[in-house]
Symmetry: C2
Subunit: 734 residues, 2 copies
């Protein structure tokens, strides 16, 4: 995310039209300058200025525009015009606005300026979310604004639009990525910008909310990038509307309840526990509804506290959790590696009940996966109640409802279940909702956001939703887990590829974050590209076809890609079965750079679609795992550790055998070996352990070790993040 | 908070006027019924119904009302009329609305129904916060709505109203409370309801945001109670606008930075650290602004990374934190006792860098105290940067800015600094902002909320703000810490007392939560009352007078208080120097029950006010502590432990000697001994340890052990908290 490697001209108050034209003419003649982007308020972006620019250097196509159509903003301050509300949903990407920050123009090398994502984001004033809501057909009562730029949308909308036909459902997945990522989020945003702002078709992007951990750690934000962003990016990347904080609060209430309950059971008699759990209030004792549910699960069909036998009292009051079999972890939304493994309960007040446990990053909480899969408030509440926190000494699963905490969890999560409405740089609507891990969970945005969006766009509209990691992981889980939960059926898969990743799969040298890219990735190399296409790209296309869904390959173009490389990718992709394959320039051009992709997607939805799940849900757990390993990953077979086998037996015995499978596998290879690129074959997939998220509703086999708590590097991103206390502007987010 | 112990009549659709009148007449004659509260929509609250009720049984004074003035609501559903917006700011407390919930009327004992706070809260539909904002003179651009019922207010308002005179500034403090609490919050809310809705004077309540820990633990919510509440109480008690979550995120980012930095320093050479901390980007190395601040603090006046000597590099890169002297704790907003003392860093990835530490409840974070004391974004940012997280092996304090994290903290807190606007049951405005601990911090709501409110109410208006615990703690800190930070001067202190607490101070038996009250507290006992007044009440009045501020005693009346007891309290309070003393009935009557108090406060502000601080800030630390102990607590002297003495020396040496003092003492006695009631004398106050919150800006001596992490009981509040997934109604919050 280093910004655009093209020349920008900034405006200062003092610049006259003559001076700008003179600067443009110089750049025209400079052989080192390959592209010019005029970032000028429309008041000085006159046709004389636009015409001065040579068309072959015109990155944004400003010379093609009818200058009279440009919207004029308020430039009283000489800087950024607040045009978003005026030009939203209209072709606008030719007018790249940029706030001049008293930078000295440094004449270096190619006269290149870098523009950060937050600078681009801030240069565009978003239209009020109330206006956006009106444009997309929401009633005022269906919106809960959170400040000016974002709002929660009430689920009652689903009832109102019950009879409205769904729009087209597009999944954005990717080939196996390099560690740098290949731009699925930017493709998603560019695609809806193309649909809504350029092709005048209703569209919605459904994105995941990012964790704050990486924002302040290594990776930076996740609002897209360049001219394909969700704005304001700082709100997207920070607290948003508080959903992750609500998850943290709910998750940690469960954890506190687990340990406190173990302490109270360890220090009290059955009778004392019963007297406290079912107290006499004004001489009357009664069970709370949550306690009656527990009694029913225990097979005690009584509702009168005094009627329980001493043995029934004991079974009722003692969850009898085995401290060595607590699976519930605490969470924080911070990269705090020192919390990976800790010992709790060391204060004397806890009477020696110490135990080892750990914290995960908040988005790894099962509650996040539940938020993403729930299709109503009631469904979420039921899933929260079913969450298993550990096992009793008798080997029975203990749930959140057993702890008496499930009602409080639903209360804590009652606002989080409403998707958050935001907008792209070009004023098109976006839902941001949920963001479960893509390994120990399913890595997709929420079912509810997709459902609301599909109703809002209407029959001819498009909802573009994104699946984490490569298609072998995110897309497989999207189909087998998310679509099973939602009942929705996708119309087309957009498979994102980059020349860089394809070269890596074709045998190029190692790519790693922080290190300079080897020359193979900077210079043309058709042979590496072709080999990458015929291995990983082909395999990922085939995986989508297993599910019977048409595939459009979106090649996310980088400035170092040559025309020959781009053409080669598109040609081979089509040979491998893609409905179409098109280059995309959304990063530098916004929606205009993705118009061809949008057209290809629109064409693909008219193709035959024979969606099917990969496996029958009633198949034995091991068979479901084997099916994914062989058909999706290309493994010869699977091999379960003794621990994994024992867990499978336990889950079968507990009646969890017919849940879908959520593989926790590296995303850096189709296999379990991160360094095996392309399309590996001839391997046995080892299943180290098998775990379960019963509330979310899936079994997750562990293929290798998954880190659920990132760390901070020596110089975390936060070093550069700052706030101007006068302007309230944030710097350093990217 | 068990609700009103008076009879309520609920309306069902099927009730005719005749049936209601018949029921009223029966209650008139029932000697077991002492009070009747008609909770009926105005459509059926006819004058015939109102006149049927005997005046002596009329709790709400409905028989006094001119029935024609009652506002009629929309009763199409037969239940709750959404009248708030129509009747807000008008006398309305005679119309107690209550939603009928298909409860069977149980004819028990005294025909008493209990109404919970959340039922009262929910029965009143709040007016839209945008309307409230307009009523109090905010411009639309100064408001950031968070849903329909709450909004953040921008600090730019202070600039706009710069020339506006401040209103009257009223502090609500209390006598030394019983463990049950004596109702400062309800007095605060009742008082503003009286001012605005009954006396037609502009007023604002400034309250603290409660922690979620107690809400789900033992204590329940903190929105007031009965007919003196902030509504919707569930939003007040849950996530509100996310400020506590922001504090949690900021606090824990610092903690993660501390441990990660110690790990990186332990495992890297000076050169490696320097290369990572000041990386070469495109061949250019430069310090970030935050790093230049650190260099300056180190006395290294260089800005060119390559110009540092190896020794300077070493001093720059090594914070050299002493693991045994880290004072920064992590926080969660959950009662999680097992996190009181923990060991972190036990995963192999942390390379054996384990250490003992702990979590506090989020509101105990220094960042919360900073939020409460900051008077601008810039001030908050500077305080965040100054926070000391531990001590280096050379004995130097290490700050958040040294860690490079202070800019990111300001970013995380940029919205939290804006106070949240809500409303009382009677539609009058409330700011909810900050909620620091009242022992290790100063226990007052925010400086900024008070400042904004004082401008908004104007010269003749009233801002009522609340200080935690008894006046010896909360009020003393309000004057010496908060007023010093804000520059504001209070006009009057309202000192809340209850007959219950006065009897305890007069020698009554022990009062404890959960246990039934001894008969002394239920039956008239004038001697205990008198003794309590002449000890604790007198002393607390004298403390306020030390600061030169007039005192009005507010007696929060309970149903068991007799007229003779009430009269006696008021009489003795005035003898002891109170400007006035009045009984208050806000719990059962709302603002109407506090009109006399409001009149007394209005009268008191016209009295002479000679505000002065208790001590000169430049006095030595020990002298400041001694002054508070002797003059406020009544101690003979203080005695510092060797550890405390050493800390005082250290703080003096570091230049922290001229900070104000924030005593961490029990609130259950004027002394350090919780069981010494009344006004103890002849004791030496032991100072166990002395700590410092340098960012917040105070030194806090520890008088005894302070718990900064509550625990969960066997049956926490959460057992009864539930959400109806269809109506989205919350039950069980109180």
């Amino acid at each position: 995310m280093v910004g655009l490697n093209i020349t920008h001209i900034y405006l200062t108050k003092e610049c006259s039209e003559d001076e700008i034209v003179e600067e443009v003419l110089k750049l025209n003649e400079d052989p080192g300058v390959h592209g010019v982007c005029l970032q000028l308020p429309s008041s000085v972006l006159t046709s004389r200025v636009a015409n001065a620019l040579k068309p072959e250097k015109d990155v944004d196509g400003i010379t093609d525009l009818n200058m009279g159509r440009l919207v004029r903003g308020d430039f009283s301050k000489g800087f950024v015009p607040p045009v978003a509300s005026a030009v939203a949903n209209s072709a606008r990407s030719g007018l790249s606005l940029h706030r001049f920050k008293n930078k000295k123009k440094k004449k270096k090398d190619l006269c290149v300026f870098y523009v950060s994502d937050i600078e681009i984001s801030r240069a565009q004033t978003p239209k009020p979310v109330t206006q956006l809501a009106e444009e997309i057909g929401l009633l005022p009562g269906e919106l809960e604004a959170y400040g000016r730029n974002k709002a929660k949308v009430r689920l009652s909308l689903l009832d109102r639009l019950h009879t409205q036909p769904d729009g087209n459902y597009v999944l954005v997945a990717g080939i196996t990525p390099t560690p740098l990522g290949e731009g699925k989020s930017t493709v998603t945003i560019g695609l809806v910008q193309a649909f809504s702002a350029h092709l005048k078709l209703n569209s919605f992007a459904c994105l995941r909310q990012p964790s704050q951990g990486p924002t302040f750690g290594v990776k930076g934000g996740a609002a897209g990038g360049g001219y394909a962003q969700v704005i304001p990016m700082e709100e997207f990347n920070l607290h948003l509307t508080g959903d992750i904080h609500a998850i943290t609060a709910a998750n940690n209430l469960v954890a506190a309840a687990v340990d406190a309950r173990m302490l109270h059971e360890a220090t009290q008699s059955d009778k004392a526990l019963f007297n406290r759990l079912v107290p006499s209030v004004n001489g009357v004792r009664k069970f709370s509804p949550i306690q009656i549910s527990r009694l029913q699960r225990l097979g005690i069909n009584k509702t009168e506290p005094t009627s329980l036998s001493p043995q029934e009292v004991s079974r009722f009051v003692r969850l009898d959790l085995d401290p060595s079999k607590i699976t519930w972890q605490r969470v924080v939304d911070t990269n705090d590696r020192f919390l990976r493994k800790i010992t709790v309960g060391q204060a004397s007040t806890e009477k020696g009940q110490i135990r080892e446990t750990g914290f995960d990053i908040a988005v790894a909480s099962e509650i996040m996966a539940i938020l993403a899969l729930a299709d109503s408030l009631e469904d979420m509440k039921n899933r929260l109640a079913r969450m298993v926190v550990g096992t009793s000494r008798r080997g029975q699963p203990v749930t959140a409802e057993d702890l008496g905490v499930s009602g409080a969890l639903a209360v804590l999560m009652k606002d989080a279940i409403k998707p958050t409405l935001m907008q792209t740089l070009e004023g098109t609507p976006v839902f941001v909702h949920a963001g479960p891990f893509a390994n120990i969970a399913h890595g997709n945005s929420s079912v509810l956001a997709d459902k609301l969006a599909l109703k809002l766009v209407g029959r001819d509209g498009f909802v573009v939703t994104e699946a984490g990691f490569g298609a072998d992981i995110g897309m497989e889980k999207f189909f087998n887990i998310k679509c099973r939960a939602s009942g929705l059926r996708p119309n087309v898969v957009v498979l994102v590829a980059t020349v860089r990743a394809l070269k890596m799969h074709g045998g190029g040298p190692n790519v790693s974050a922080g290190a300079p890219l080897p020359k193979e990735y900077i210079e043309e190399n058709l042979s590496l590209v072709a080999d990458g296409c015929r291995s990983n790209l082909r395999k990922q296309i085939q995986i989508a076809q297993l599910f019977g869904v048409p595939v459009v390959v979106a090649l996310n173009v980088f400035k170092t890609d040559t025309l020959a490389e781009i053409d080669l990718v598109c040609q081979i992709a089509k040979e491998c079965g893609a409905s179409d394959a098109v280059p995309c320039h959304h990063w530098s051009q916004g929606g205009r750079g993705s118009v061809e992709l949008a057209k290809a997607v629109k064409e693909a939805v008219s193709r035959p679609n024979n969606f099917q799940f990969l496996y029958n849900i009633e198949m034995p757990i091991v068979e479901k795992i084997r099916t994914i390993a062989q058909k999706v990953y290309g493994a010869d077979d699977i091999e379960l550790s003794p621990e994994a086998k024992a867990k499978v037996d336990y889950y079968n015995q507990q009646g969890f055998g017919s849940l879908p499978i959520c593989m926790a596998k590296t995303h850096l290879s189709l296999s379990h070996m991160p360094d095996k690129k392309g399309a590996p074959t001839g391997f046995i997939l080892p299943i180290r352990d098998v775990r379960a998220s019963i509330g979310a509703g899936f079994i997750y086999p562990l293929v290798g070790t998954m880190s659920t708590m990132p760390g901070l590097p020596t110089r975390p991103c936060f070093y550069d993040i700052d706030l101007d206390p006068v302007t309230e502007e944030i710097t350093g987010l990217f």
